[in-house]
């Protein structure tokens, strides 16, 4: 069996150790005897529909503004349509911070300038510049029932219903009417510091602000992504005692 991860813009969008997510997915898959291939997709990659078909799981991180300049046009005009089709066709994806924002409808900068997004996620992001403080700190949240009750998630979840991580974002993201949040914030800011929710779920894709990297202390989420993307009903259990303790300890951190 083989897991093919499509890693979008690994050089440009890897600001907060998000690369660790790919390392963790690969490590956990290999521990179960699953072969792993990581396809790095850069602005130079001539991405085709055929390549997208070979990808089981898409990962994309966040990056500083200067890096986003280097991939924005490429994402919007070249990779975006293929990525949208992948997501609409129920492909499994994890999109962190900047990429979560970029796949939304638009990003409104503090100076009022509106930057178009790929538009596959019905969310939009607003930056208030210096008028509102950045959302920084440790986060604890509870996964939404829709995902918790998913059969695949249920079968791999040996940890519980919480997620832990660290957020650091200036933009506030607002969800459209028909889009589900990913989690309910127990501690932290989440999407916008207003509605109490974190991230979004659309079909089999997740957008989130959680770093840490998110999969480091949330092994249940990592396993869900692996199982879901390979259509597996269950996964062999690993010795996660240390990782589970790290998750539990994180719930007691100060914001």
């Amino acid at each position: 069996m083989k897991l093919t991860i499509g890693y979008f813009y690994p050089e440009l969008l890897n600001l907060y150790g998000d690369d660790g997510n790919v390392q963790i997915l690969a490590s956990r898959a290999r521990s179960r005897g699953i072969e792993v291939e990581v396809i790095n997709i850069t602005p130079k990659t001539e991405l085709t529909e055929e390549m997208m078909h070979s990808i089981d799981l898409v990962f994309m991180g966040g990056g500083p503004d200067s890096s986003q300049h280097g991939m924005y046009e490429d994402l919007l005009h070249k990779k975006g349509p293929l990525l949208s089709k992948f997501i609409e066709d129920e492909g499994v994806g994890l999109f962190i911070c900047g990429s979560y924002q970029l796949l939304g409808n638009y990003y409104k900068a503090a100076n009022g300038k509106v930057l178009d997004g790929v538009g596959v996620f019905d969310v939009h992001t607003v930056s208030f510049g210096t008028k509102k403080p950045r959302c920084i700190g440790n986060v604890v949240c509870e996964i939404m029932p829709e995902l918790r009750h998913d059969e695949t998630f249920n079968s791999v979840n040996k940890l519980g219903d919480t997620l832990v991580g660290f957020e650091n974002h200036g933009g506030r993201t607002y969800l459209g009417k028909n889009i589900l949040p990913f989690a309910k914030v127990l501690m932290g800011h989440g999407n916008n510091s207003e509605d109490g929710y974190e991230g979004m779920l659309y079909k089999n894709s997740i957008g989130t602000y959680l770093h840490g990297p998110i999969l480091a202390r949330n092994p249940h989420l990592a396993d869900y992504l692996i199982a879901k993307s390979l259509n597996l009903e269950s996964l062999e259990e690993l010795d996660d005692s240390l990782i589970n303790s790290a998750h539990t300890a994180s719930k007691k951190l100060k914001q």
Partner: protein, 382 residues
């Protein structure tokens, strides 16, 4: 007004030293700044030979200590913020406390390491004779923000410097090109050429740059090359930056590892076999001076981590010890759960009790380094 502030700073310092308040080094500066926010630009505070400022993500402490050492070996009197108080208040403290009661400097020159985020604020107040810019890389994103933002702020301040300021700059960093576009003065470049490094007892390729930066700066200040070379061999490590300590029959070497770049620099020392050890100790905290976001440990190359750890006893502790243990595990390091502790004291005790552990390389981040030094040497800083 100037003298009132000077005396208040001196009095504050007197009480701090008799009450033994180790961390009180910045208080005189705090008091002075509260009364006179622009005190650092006051003419009376000018050093006779001017000021050298050294900034960057990594290497500030070693470079400024070496430059001070070279200058002092040729009998130049130097004021240096050697405890690492490198914000505006630390510089004000150091500068004021160097003054006599009559308002003149005891030292001839100020050599200050400057926090990279504070540099623009300090450049608004003083025009250094030499500005040494070492490097910029990811460090404490929750406090400092992205590297680009710091680089942008640096560019704006470098533009305003007078042409009399000379910049000493790392030639190998492409991101520095834009920084000096509108700079009016002279620039001296350094690289990683190892001939001066080899005259010191320092290890690590990254230290070649620090040594070259200090050597070239002393040349700019008119120190003779022969005197510089002679002074290199008896230079001792800055605290926690390669420092060696013997504790309960074990040889420790402390290698501050506070961000991905400094971590990898230190791992390279092991992977290049410049030092050997049978034990590695990771001490990982998330206190305010460390940054509270621990995600950066996943920016450290997993291959460098597993290579360095191979065949060694691995101990992990600190306020976020579990995060470090998980990171090492995912890098393929064999972690024994009985060697993973919350408490640093327990870890050092376990190493002391382990007969197989004789030589220990410790990788602490900032607050962890101070705690480790306190246990091993009995004092936190100097």
């Amino acid at each position: 007004m100037f003298y009132i502030i000077l005396y208040l700073a001196k009095i504050a310092n007197f009480f701090i030293s008799i009450l033994n308040l180790g961390a009180g080094y910045t208080w005189p500066g705090h008091i002075a700044l509260a009364l006179y926010p622009n005190i650092l630009s006051h003419k009376k505070l000018d050093f006779p030979l001017g000021v050298v400022l050294i900034s960057g993500t990594n290497g500030k402490t070693t470079t400024s200590k070496l430059l001070t050492h070279i200058l002092e070996s040729t009998d130049v009197k130097v004021t240096h913020n050697k405890t690492g108080a490198n914000l505006l208040n630390g510089l004000v403290s150091a500068t004021l406390l160097d003054m006599s009661l009559l308002g003149s400097h005891n030292s001839q020159i100020g050599v200050f390491e400057v926090d990279e985020n504070n540099l623009p604020l300090i450049l608004e107040r003083i025009n250094p004779n030499v500005l040494v810019l070492l490097n910029l890389s990811r460090d404490q994103l929750d406090r400092y923000g992205e590297v680009d933002l710091i680089l942008e702020k640096w560019s704006s301040s470098v533009e305003t410097l007078e042409a009399s300021t000379e910049i000493v700059l790392d030639k190998t960093q492409p991101y520095f090109k834009k920084l000096i576009e509108n700079f009016k003065g002279e620039i001296t470049y350094f690289d990683e050429e190892p001939s001066y490094l080899n005259k010191t007892s320092l290890i690590g390729k990254f230290n070649a740059k620090n040594v070259n930066a200090a050597v070239y700066t002393s040349m700019l200040l008119g120190i003779d090359e022969v005197d510089i070379e002679n002074s290199l061999e008896n230079f001792e490590y800055a605290y926690g930056r390669g420092e060696q300590v013997s504790y309960r029959d074990k040889d420790y070497r402390i290698l501050l590892a506070k961000n991905p770049a400094s971590f990898e620099n230190n791992l390279e020392v092991i992977n290049d076999s410049e030092v050997s050890a049978d034990t590695l100790l990771f001490v990982f905290n998330d206190n305010i001076p460390d940054g509270r976001d621990v995600s950066w440990i996943y920016d450290i190359s997993p291959e460098a981590l597993s290579g360095a750890c191979k065949g060694k006893n691995i101990y992990v502790c600190g306020t976020r010890y579990m995060d470090m243990a998980v990171r090492l595990k995912y890098a393929g390091v064999d972690i024994k759960e009985e060697n993973v502790f919350a408490s640093l004291e327990s870890t050092v005790a376990a190493i002391t009790a382990n007969e197989e552990s004789l030589s220990v390389l410790a990788f602490p981040n900032y607050s962890a380094m101070l705690q480790l030094r306190k246990i091993l040497t009995g004092k936190a800083i100097l």
